[in-house]
């Protein structure tokens, strides 16, 4: 009988994805195209936010959109119809998130030489997408007021990896038991540098602040 021995491994489980994500980042840097990964739970307003954003920026920033869904093409169709922007639909075939390999496929289908910004609409989910680096320049997430202010307690990883948090549907604040101050404190304890912007895709409130942030990111990230 062979002796039982212990082998030290210490190898990162997600290293393949992380290597691929670094390649995506390098590719975008060379093309001087900004990649934004937009995440949220289903129904928080990702598609609405993208449409609102395109309305404001499409005349001076060249944008492509990568839509990810488990099995449907409605989001890409909606974005193309309503904004005239090129949108690629990725069907994740049951997977709950996009990984860097799938994002690479999406980027292959776009003409990056003629784009300044690519927005990824990730699968609606606050768990899995947080675990998989897509290679994005920055991560943004939406939390909508009806979801509740306790979400950072339940999905801490998502709140800790995002650079900007959009609190959407603030037109519901009056009718919901939602403590914006408590939310901000919980989020900032996990992630002190996060930018928090309150918006309503319905009324348009706060959209300019968000668009200014995004425009500044796109303009300054690859200059100099």
């Amino acid at each position: 009988m062979d002796k039982v021995r212990l082998i030290e491994v210490k190898e990162d489980i997600l290293s393949d994805n992380e290597n691929m994500a670094s390649e995506v980042r390098e590719r975008m840097r060379k093309k001087k195209a900004y990649l934004l990964n937009l995440m949220s739970s289903p129904g928080a307003g990702k598609t609405s936010l993208i449409l609102r954003t395109l309305e404001k920026i499409k005349h001076d920033i060249r944008v492509g959109v990568i839509e990810a869904d488990i099995d449907s093409t409605v989001d890409a169709e909606k974005v193309m119809e309503e904004s005239g922007t090129t949108a690629i639909q990725l069907r994740t075939g049951g997977f709950c998130h996009l990984d860097a390999a799938m994002v690479t496929q999406g980027l292959d289908a776009l003409d990056l030489d003629s784009l300044d910004l690519v927005i990824i609409e990730n699968v609606g989910n606050l768990v899995c997408p947080a675990e998989f680096d897509t290679g994005a320049t920055k991560n943004a997430m939406i939390l909508s007021v009806p979801e509740g202010d306790d979400k950072p307690l339940k999905y801490p990883l998502m709140f800790s990896i995002c650079h900007v948090l959009l609190v959407n549907k603030i037109d519901y604040l009056a009718s919901e038991d939602f403590d914006l101050g408590a939310l901000k404190q919980r989020v900032r304890a996990l992630n002190p540098d996060i930018r928090i912007i309150e918006v309503s895709c319905k009324t348009g409130e706060g959209i300019n602040t968000w668009v200014d942030w995004l425009r500044n990111e796109v303009e300054t990230s690859f200059s100099g």
């Binding site: 491994v9 190898e11 489980i13 899995c128 990883l157 992630n191």
Partner: protein
Amino acid sequence: MHELPITQSILDIVVKHAVTNNVKRVLSITLRIGELSDLEDEWIQRYFDYLSKDTIADKAILKIERAPVIMRCNGCSHSFEAKIKEKKEIACPECGSTKNFTLISGREYYVKDMEVQ
């Protein structure tokens, strides 16, 4: 739902190390997973049993070690374990500050070691 690709990745790492170390059989594998990450213990073992059939790691037992979330208070530089899933506000036990922390650990996601024959 992301347990399947994760499990495949674990198996690939285990088989690679088993081959380079001339292993006949892998008995158990220890994973170190941070408290910030979600990983369903029971499901990952089931996926592993399924994927590892006919490999050197067939019937190996997965042991999951959870790594706590450690934060450092930027005010007084004290490091402490944070209970991030509780409603109670996170506060530095040293100086009482409730803001301005840096996350030190809690996102571990690696294969730590394995028992082999």
